[in-house]
Subunit: 199 residues, 2 copies
Amino acid sequence: MARWAPDAAGRLQTAALELYAERGFEQTTVADIAARAGVTARTYFRHFIDKREVLFSGQSELQAFLAEWIETQVGPDDPMTRVIAGLEAAAAHFPDKTELSVKRSAIIASNAELRERELQKLASLAAVIAEALGRSGIDPAAARIVGEVGMMVFKLGYERWIGGDHTSFAATIRSTFDDLRTAMRGEGQAAARQSAGFA
Amino acid sequence: MARWAPDAAGRLQTAALELYAERGFEQTTVADIAARAGVTARTYFRHFIDKREVLFSGQSELQAFLAEWIETQVGPDDPMTRVIAGLEAAAAHFPDKTELSVKRSAIIASNAELRERELQKLASLAAVIAEALGRSGIDPAAARIVGEVGMMVFKLGYERWIGGDHTSFAATIRSTFDDLRTAMRGEGQAAARQSAGFA
């Protein structure tokens, strides 16, 4: 509708991903990103606090969605089941996987500062889950564990999805959780080990 | 034996912990730490690459111990059981909990840069476990999951131990893993929730 910078944030994200993929993260400046998106650097900093943050938008929405889900959904009383269901619901709202979202993961993996920011975001996701469970009356030690497991399933499920699994993100969250349950039971791995040629 | 700086690394660690606790991490310089330990800044940098690293010594020994354990121990074929047993064995070699080790956790928690470094160290612990399992013939996807669980149990077990649990570090690793298993089975939490006053 507006002729001046409709969806500036979205265009800045696309421009940043393109430039980071083309030139590398270190070699790209905020001025470069703003120029490609057709806005000023000042507009960039209205949306993102630094060069890293443009790759992590949507995190606060994800956290708010999950906290709300955990505290309000009628449904399973067991916190682990509730959190995994919330992650699957959140995953169903994720944008489709595109060439750019695949590039995003490679860009993050290639830079230590970006990997640090990603680890921070994941740690805060674990904390948000644990706090929401705590507000629902779950014992803090159990809430802490379920928060960490939820974060881990989200992280590994995302990796599977971006890494080429052809199902949906919600489906890779589910398959990761199922594999975690199998690993916790100590089943299946001895067989996998033998099939890999180990006696 | 030597009169010139026996155990310089250990004295630098103690000096750093004391100064970080007294003045704060930001307000302490490498020169301050070296002076208190009675060595030069040059000696400091022979042992630690920066101001943060002095708080994380022993990590490479831990990783080497675990990798060796995973690859060579005769014993349970199930990777999760093997990794948790390795973590318990590693924990038994940890230095005793002291006032200074409790302070260390508070110092890290109070500073964003230090929290980042800690997250990096934990991520590399997960990777080391997964790689050692991979070399033992475990399927990579299962190895990745067990690596993440091992890292999480180590992290939460350490928190419990430092946080005032009066058993040993090995015992808090075991109790954390037992609680994780309970949470994965979806047992116990509904009861905990009710006892907290929720219907």
